[in-house]
């Protein structure tokens, strides 16, 4: 060490050692994430501010062209296509998250009412389908909902779909695929919340309020809120950016923001526009995260929400 003068005190030596320790343990991972995620992300943001070249690749000079395009302004004046895509993404996310909550609540509660030795097995049963690849899961639904299958026949018989058509491809199939894909992500945190439930409070509430609905609303719901919010974060964010499910089940009618972004790259259309779409997606994600944190802090009685 090129350190002359007064001998460093034991305390400052310890501090140096601690700092070095921090560096050695944290630096490899931090540097990895910076090089392989932060820099690429920054580069992508840069691409969004570049000009679209004649064949879809980014070019200098810098411009805001791609954001204008994203907002719908092009050669032909304003057109609502991208706005539809954005609204469709929001709608699909909201509906599928809502449905996931409706299914996951009773399931998570039911598991906590079962005998303790069954619970890990029951949780495993809920989680195992998500261990297979999402392409395979979605393919399963393609099989189930195609024209001529019993489910499609049933829907046709009930007059829900036009004759000869299947339940897939349709935006209904996309919603279903999303619910299927994300159900476990909601059951797990809700189960954790139900497990910690203070039963004394619930019983008191049952005595206090005549209706079970009100008992639930006043005693159970607030206690499970942190789990619910964590679940919403785990479901809504990936659902909003989903690419595979609308691509396979939507059949060209259910385009979501993820598809808009992806086709700019995988269909060779317009990199800067795709990058601008990615920025929009990021902004929406962070707004969602921030909102969840705020709601969690306000309603959860100061309890910190995971993530």
């Amino acid at each position: 060490m090129a350190y002359t003068g007064v001998m460093p005190s034991a305390r400052s030596r310890a501090m140096v050692r601690e700092a070095r320790h921090l560096l050695f343990t944290v630096a490899p991972g931090a540097v990895w994430i910076v090089i392989f995620l932060v820099l690429p992300g920054a580069y992508l943001m840069g691409v969004a501010f570049m000009t679209n070249g004649p064949y879809g690749l980014p070019e200098m000079p810098l411009s805001l062209e791609s954001f204008k395009r994203l907002a719908g302004f092009g050669f032909l004046g304003w057109s609502p296509g991208n706005l539809y895509t954005l609204l469709r993404s929001l709608w699909q996310t909201a509906v599928s998250t809502g449905l996931v909550v409706l299914v996951a609540y009773p399931i998570a509660y039911y598991i906590t009412t079962c005998r303790e030795k069954w619970r890990p097995i029951m949780l495993l049963l809920v989680v195992v389908p998500s261990w297979t690849n999402q392409v395979i899961r979605t393919f399963g639904w393609m099989n189930l909902l195609a024209p001529g299958t019993p489910l499609s026949g049933l829907a046709e018989g009930l007059g829900l779909i036009a004759p000869n058509m299947g339940l897939y491809p349709s935006s209904f199939a996309v919603t279903l695929g999303l619910v299927y894909n994300f159900l476990p992500f909601m059951v797990l945190p809700l189960y954790a919340a139900f497990e910690k439930l203070d039963t004394a409070q619930v019983e008191a509430a049952q005595d206090l309020f005549a209706s079970p609905v009100r008992a639930f609303w006043h005693a159970v719901f607030p206690q499970t809120l942190p789990g619910l919010l964590a679940g919403i974060v785990l479901v809504a964010i990936p659902a909003f950016g989903m690419y595979v499910i609308p691509e396979l089940l939507g059949g060209g009618k259910g385009m979501m923001l993820g598809n808009l972004v992806a086709t700019q790259f995988s269909g060779g259309a317009n990199w800067p526009l795709g990058a601008a779409g990615a920025i929009l997606m990021l902004i929406a994600t962070f707004i969602g995260l921030f909102a969840m944190r705020r709601i969690g802090k306000r309603l959860g009685g100061g309890e910190e929400v995971v993530i």
């Binding site: 679209n52 004649p54 064949y55 879809g56 690749l57 395009r69 092009g74 050669f75 032909l76 057109s79 296509g81 991208n82 539809y84 895509t85 195609a146 024209p147 001529g148 036009a162 004759p163 000869n164 058509m165 299947g166 491809p169 939507g250 059949g251 060209g252 009618k253 385009m255 808009l260 086709t263 790259f265 995988s266 269909g267 060779g268 259309a269 317009n270």
Partner: protein
């Protein structure tokens, strides 16, 4: 503990292996359409030149173009795009000129393919196969189907049976243009706008089932998912041969309003890892007997004059060789550039997102 070490050693070994395999010299990377190559031709080529051919596939030209831009330009030795993507490949510098001194069999190519409009002086391209894109429909559902795009675009002709358009926007737009009377190869702005409106309307119909690429469209038809679709004449015959029972009720037609004719060519990407072997491969495909074998396998017409004597009989009549009347209505898909391309992209993305 030892177990973990083994896993570590194994995977590090795998990583090294993966790194070194890519660097290996004696390989040829072929990037081709799906279901477009006879495995026996590959085997014969591998044997003759003691090389391993690695095949990758694409289902549409936009996909192929995107993959080249995403690093593929230095990873593939041969690509097989259609005519209307050749100019943009040349202009973006994604392909290199062919070294004709290495291509002895270039003389085998038919005269009309030797100086095609899309590849200046054939400096970059060697023809592979040619064919048409037409409507494939279920003859049980439509016993007297009109020879027309109305099977898709007119809700009165096809009120209640699912149909799919093509994923490649230029072909779907061309079809809409043809139906509207502007010709398949329209490039006029107003015609395009009208076609885009028609496509958006068509998408809104209950029986529209999606955008499908040419080869999978046939699978959908075979499985009854759709009753009308867009596909290629050769693929239709290929799958018909494979599954005659199912395809007995499917027929291929070229609408009277006009449709697409295309030529697929072999090109070498600008930074191909093994351009030498790529030339050998092109020359191999251009051999009379290999060219014939390819067409006999694929059911596509051969641009190879020398191959003619070896061709199966089915290749000499419709739908492989369109009738003269049909031939007059067939057009190349226009290759777009500049403002025209930008305008088209915007119209098409509008169609997709509605």
């Amino acid at each position: 503990m030892t177990n973990n070490k083994n896993i570590l050693a194994l995977s590090l070994g795998g990583l090294l292996l993966a790194g070194s395999v890519q660097a290996q010299e004696n390989k040829l990377y072929l990037f081709n359409w799906t279901e477009y190559m006879d495995p026996e031709i590959i085997a014969a080529f591998e044997e003759r030149y003691d090389v391993e051919v690695v095949q990758n596939y694409f289902n549409s030209l936009p996909e192929m173009f995107a993959k080249l831009n995403a690093g593929g330009v230095s990873q593939y030795d041969i690509i097989v795009p259609s005519n209307y993507y050749v100019p943009r490949l040349i202009q973006t510098g994604l392909v290199q000129k062919l070294d004709t001194s290495k291509l002895d069999n270039l003389d085998n190519v038919m005269e009309q393919f030797q100086d095609p409009a899309y590849g200046p002086g054939a400096e970059y391209t060697a023809p592979y196969q040619w064919g048409t894109t037409g409507l494939v429909y279920n003859t049980e559902t439509f016993p007297d189907a009109p020879k027309s795009w109305s099977l898709m675009f007119d809700p009165e002709v096809n009120p209640e049976h699912p149909f799919a358009l093509m994923g490649d926007g230029q072909v779907s737009m061309g079809g809409a243009c043809a139906y509207l009377g502007h010709g398949y190869d329209c490039t006029d702005m107003n015609a395009w706008k009208e076609a885009a409106r028609l496509l958006i309307e068509t998408k809104g119909r209950e029986t529209f089932s999606g955008f499908t690429d040419g080869t999978p469209a046939l699978q959908q038809l075979a499985r009854g998912v759709t009753h009308v679709g867009l596909s290629y004449n050769g693929d239709y015959l290929f799958f018909k041969e494979e599954d005659p029972d199912t395809f007995a009720t499917l027929d291929f037609m070229i609408p009277d309003e006009g449709a697409e004719m295309w030529v697929d060519s072999m090109l070498i990407p600008a930074e191909a890892p093994n351009p030498d072997m790529a030339h050998k491969f092109i020359d191999f495909i251009l051999e009379a007997e290999v060219g014939a074998q390819l067409s006999n396998y694929n059911y596509y017409a051969s641009p190879n004059a020398a191959a003619t004597p070896y061709l199966d009989e089915v290749l000499t009549k419709p739908p492989v060789q369109p009738s003269e009347a049909d031939m007059e209505r067939l057009r190349f898909t226009p290759s777009l550039e500049g403002d025209a391309l930008q305008t088209f992209q915007q119209l098409w993305s509008e169609v997709q997102s509605r």
